[in-house]
Structures are given as structure tokens and as C-alpha cells.
């Protein structure tokens, strides 16, 4: 690890340590006493039940005093785990809320959590860098949840607010917000009477610049149609491209003369830029080479295709084909390309 990275980790650790204020061992003792009281009460109930039903209960909660200590368990013992166990419905809702967050490998998030909706939930301790973000809240169950995001650990600097509707297949409530400076942020969630203590929620905060849009079915279908415009006997299969974001395709070929064919299909306009450039060590093509041509297609339901003039490719070079969709075409139109000798 670089010295600088190690230093940053060490500083983060030191700074965070200064902000830790333990609730204290008195709090620990109160919590444990309260739970033991509940557990003892449960024991009396179970004992009575056992006596009345004639079933003997084996109490293993008090091992022999002289027994050697057991090996440390790999997990917490459940003897005193008297937190309420969610019923199957609540359990399913929590799992569904977790699942709704999606795969962080596909859509990275800055922070995410989940839990049971309450009338007055507050998460007061998330550190965010200055940037633009989107807040996604999923609520599984019934009712609604009001959302307020505030900047800073204290004060009333509201960054965003809205309401999420709970359902068994929730659509997220999405709130864009800007974190003006690196700071702590707060999330307030207030469930209504139908949601509180019954519904489950999950939320994630995603950097706007890292939002990954899935290609729509319409764009995929139109990409296939666009590829159909370039089909020809003896030609290789065209590459199909969707328009959920601007894309650059790299094509490496041996030195020679080539024609680049592009097509699009569907609504809106797509602009194409074809460049040649050096093939880099990672297999991609440099985008700072000469521009070989540009063209903008009105895609339409009939589709449109173009052939760029023959381009001479030097050894160790390739093509980069960039397509930019306008708002009408975005994630609706599809495009395709083909590079053939000629």
C-alpha cells in the first residue's frame, strides 16, 4: 500500500476514534438486566406450560460451574436474544426490501441500509462527500413513508423531501439531492399508521455520476432492427447497441482499408463519430486520434444507415465509434455498426 493511502486510513481511524462516545457499561448492565427479566418471565410461562402438559424441559442455560469454558462460538449465542423475532410476513418484507436494493456490483451505492418502518426513524450518522446524489427508498408492505433528508448532524438544512408508497413490489421513491460540502447527513423516515411497525424499508444513496441505467426492452428491440438494416450476404453479423447512455465501441483490425457502416432505428436522433487511433495495451482504442467522419441520423421507424468512406487503418490502430442519442432517442432507439474491408 502506498504510504499516502496508509496515512489516510490511519488518519481516518484516529479522527473517527475521537468521535466515539461509548454509551457506557451502565447501559450494558441495564440492557442485560432487562432482558434477563424478560427471559425469566418467559421461563416461568414455559415451566407452567411444561408442567401442565407433562413435558419435561431441560434447562441448559446454566452449565456446570467447574466445566471448562467452551471454545468461542463463531456466532452469537441466542440464549438471551430476546429481540422480537419478526413473523413470517415481516421476515419476507425485510428480505424483499433488501432484494429491492439490487446488486451493488452492478449499481454501486455509497451507503445502504434496511429495517422496519417506524413512525419516527432517524439515521443521523452517514458521512457524504460533496457531490450530487440520488436517494432511493423502497417500502414493502402497506401505507406510505414520508422522507426528509437534511444536511449536517444538527440543524434544519433540508436537502430533499418526498413520500414513498409501500407495496409488495415497490417502485422506489427517488429523491435527487446535492451534498454541498463533506458532512454528515440525516435521513428521517416517518411511516403512517398502516406502515409503522409493519412495513419494511430499504434505502440506498447513489452518486448521480455513477448511476447505471439498464437498457430498455424497446432499445434492445430497436438495436436488433438497426442491425437488420446492415445484414447482407457474406457479411459478418453487425454489433447491436442500445442507447441508455452514450457509448463508444472499439474495433481493432489489421492494417488495411475499411468501410464503417452505422445504422439506427426508433425515435429521435443519434449522432455518430468515427475516429481512428492507436490500439492501447488494454485492447481499447485511443480516442485522441483523427476524426474520420461524423453523421447524425433521424432514426425513425423505417431506420437509417450510412457508410463512411473507405478509411486506411495503420498497423496497431483501430476504430472508435461513438454514438450520442438525443433525449427522444435515449433508451428507446437502437443502433448497430459493422466494419468491413473496402
Amino acid at each position: 500500500m502506498t504510504d499516502r493511502t496508509e496515512l489516510l486510513l490511519a488518519e481516518a481511524r484516529t479522527q473517527a476514534m475521537r468521535e466515539v462516545f461509548p454509551p457506557g457499561t451502565d447501559q450494558v448492565r441495564r440492557t442485560v438486566r432487562r432482558r434477563q427479566g424478560i427471559a425469566a418471565g418467559l421461563g416461568v410461562v414455559l415451566a407452567i406450560a411444561a408442567i401442565t402438559s407433562g413435558i419435561a424441559l431441560v434447562n441448559d442455560r446454566h452449565p456446570a460451574t467447574n466445566a471448562p469454558p467452551a471454545a468461542p462460538s463463531s456466532g452469537p449465542s441466542e440464549n438471551l436474544d430476546v429481540f422480537p423475532t419478526p413473523d413470517p410476513t415481516a421476515e419476507a418484507r425485510i428480505s424483499a426490501a433488501d432484494d429491492a436494493l439490487g446488486d451493488p456490483d452492478k449499481q454501486p451505492w455509497v451507503v445502504a441500509t434496511s429495517g422496519v418502518v417506524t413512525a419516527d426513524y432517524e439515521n443521523a450518522a452517514m458521512d457524504l462527500a460533496a457531490d450530487d446524489y440520488q436517494f432511493y427508498l423502497y417500502c414493502v408492505g402497506e401505507g406510505t413513508v414520508d422522507i426528509v433528508l437534511k444536511d449536517g448532524q444538527y440543524g434544519d438544512k433540508k436537502m430533499a423531501a418526498g413520500t414513498a408508497t409501500c407495496s409488495d413490489n415497490p417502485e422506489p421513491a427517488i429523491l435527487p439531492f446535492t451534498q454541498p460540502a463533506a458532512n454528515r447527513s440525516r435521513v428521517f423516515l416517518s411511516g403512517d399508521a398502516r406502515a409503522a411497525e409493519k412495513a419494511s424499508f430499504s434505502f440506498k444513496i447513489v452518486r448521480t455520476s455513477e448511476i447505471v441505467t439498464e437498457a430498455s426492452q424497446e432499445s434492445r428491440t430497436n438495436a436488433t432492427a438497426a442491425a437488420g438494416l446492415l445484414d447482407g450476404s457474406g457479411l459478418p453479423e453487425p454489433a447491436k447497441m442500445t442507447t441508455e447512455q452514450d457509448k463508444t465501441a472499439d474495433v481493432t483490425k489489421p492494417a488495411g482499408n475499411y468501410r464503417v457502416l452505422v445504422s439506427c432505428y426508433g425515435p429521435g436522433k443519434v449522432s455518430f463519430l468515427v475516429r481512428t487511433g492507436k490500439t492501447l495495451r488494454d485492447g481499447t482504442v485511443a480516442t485522441n486520434g483523427p476524426t474520420e467522419g461524423t453523421i447524425t441520423h433521424e432514426c425513425t421507424g423505417e431506420g437509417q444507415f450510412s457508410s463512411f468512406a473507405s478509411v486506411t487503418l495503420a498497423a496497431g490502430s483501430g476504430f472508435s465509434i461513438t454514438a450520442q442519442a438525443d433525449s427522444a432517442a435515449r433508451n428507446k432507439a437502437g443502433w448497430a455498426y459493422l466494419v468491413i474491408p473496402g
Binding site: 450494558v28 438471551l80 441500509t113 426513524y121 450518522a125 448532524q153
Partner: protein
């Protein structure tokens, strides 16, 4: 029977460390506090046994991490003791930009890599200790650490300082 007095000493010595480790893992200080306090509660409830372990802190750390990854964390929201105590919390300054950058960079790592970075650089565990804890070969831990370091350096803009 009253628990041994050194529970308090252990709590005072390790609550902060453990909380920072989980904080760096979650990026969420409140979650970290909840999980660590719960782990100490479970240790106290069976302190007569736990205090005789060779490494009671290791037991508490393991419980805290297990809790962090379990459904307990998801269900604790309605039960959070911190949310009930929040009004008396000491006021502290917001985090510095560099710490925010570190936490953001850690958040980009896959969970397993993030965990080994935290255990190595926040808990000061050795590679063999992490390997034993995670149930993998030491070479696997080294590989995870190497990949994590590369990714962190890229995110933190310190990659150019990597010695050749």
C-alpha cells in the same frame, strides 16, 4: 454473581476500536455503535464464560461482525437504543473531506475485500489471523489485500506513489 470488574476495563479499551472498525465497514456510525453495544451486551450476559477465553475481545469482535452481517441489523431499526439516546449525544464536528473520501473509497470495495482491509488496517490483525478468522488461505487474504490496496489507491488518488 457479579461479573469480574475487568469487563469495564475491556469495554473502555475496545469499544472505540470496534466501533471504528464497523463504522469503516458500514460507512454508518450509528449502525456501528448499535452493533458493538449489542456485542458487549451479549458478552456481559455470559461474562463468566467469556472472561475465561484466551481472547475475549476476539469473541466480542466476532459477535459484532456476525451481528453486522445478520438479520439482527435489519430488524434493529425499530429497537435502536441509540435512537432513544440521540438527544443527549455529545455534539461533534462533521467529518473532514479526507475521511469522507476514505469511507467512500472503502464502500466501493467488494464486501470481503472491505472486511479484510478493515481487519488489517483498523483492527491491526495479521494476515494469518485474518486468514484463520475468514477460514481461507493466507495467500487468499494477501490477494484480497493487494486488490483492495490497488483499488483504494486509485480512488484516493495515491496510486502514483506506488513504489516500483
Amino acid at each position: 454473581m457479579a461479573p469480574p470488574a475487568n469487563f469495564d476495563q475491556l469495554y473502555a479499551a475496545h469499544y472505540g476500536d470496534l466501533t471504528v472498525q464497523l463504522y469503516m465497514y458500514f460507512g454508518d456510525r450509528q449502525e456501528a455503535h448499535d452493533v458493538v453495544q449489542e456485542a458487549f451486551c451479549r458478552a456481559y450476559a455470559r461474562w463468566r464464560t467469556v472472561s475465561r477465553y484466551e481472547d475475549p475481545v476476539g469473541w466480542i469482535r466476532r459477535v459484532a461482525w456476525n451481528l453486522a452481517l445478520s438479520k439482527w441489523r435489519r430488524t434493529r431499526t425499530a429497537l435502536s437504543f441509540l435512537s432513544r439516546q440521540r438527544r443527549t449525544e455529545v455534539r461533534i464536528e462533521g467529518p473532514g473531506p479526507e475521511r469522507v473520501a476514505v469511507i467512500a473509497a472503502l464502500a466501493t470495495l467488494p464486501e470481503q475485500q472491505r472486511r479484510v482491509v478493515v481487519l488489517r488496517y483498523m483492527a491491526d490483525l495479521t494476515v494469518p489471523e485474518i486468514a484463520a478468522r475468514e477460514g481461507v488461505a493466507e495467500g487468499t487474504v494477501k490477494s484480497w489485500l493487494h486488490r483492495s490496496r490497488t483499488a483504494l489507491a486509485a480512488h484516493l488518488g495515491t496510486a502514483e506513489e506506488t513504489p516500483s
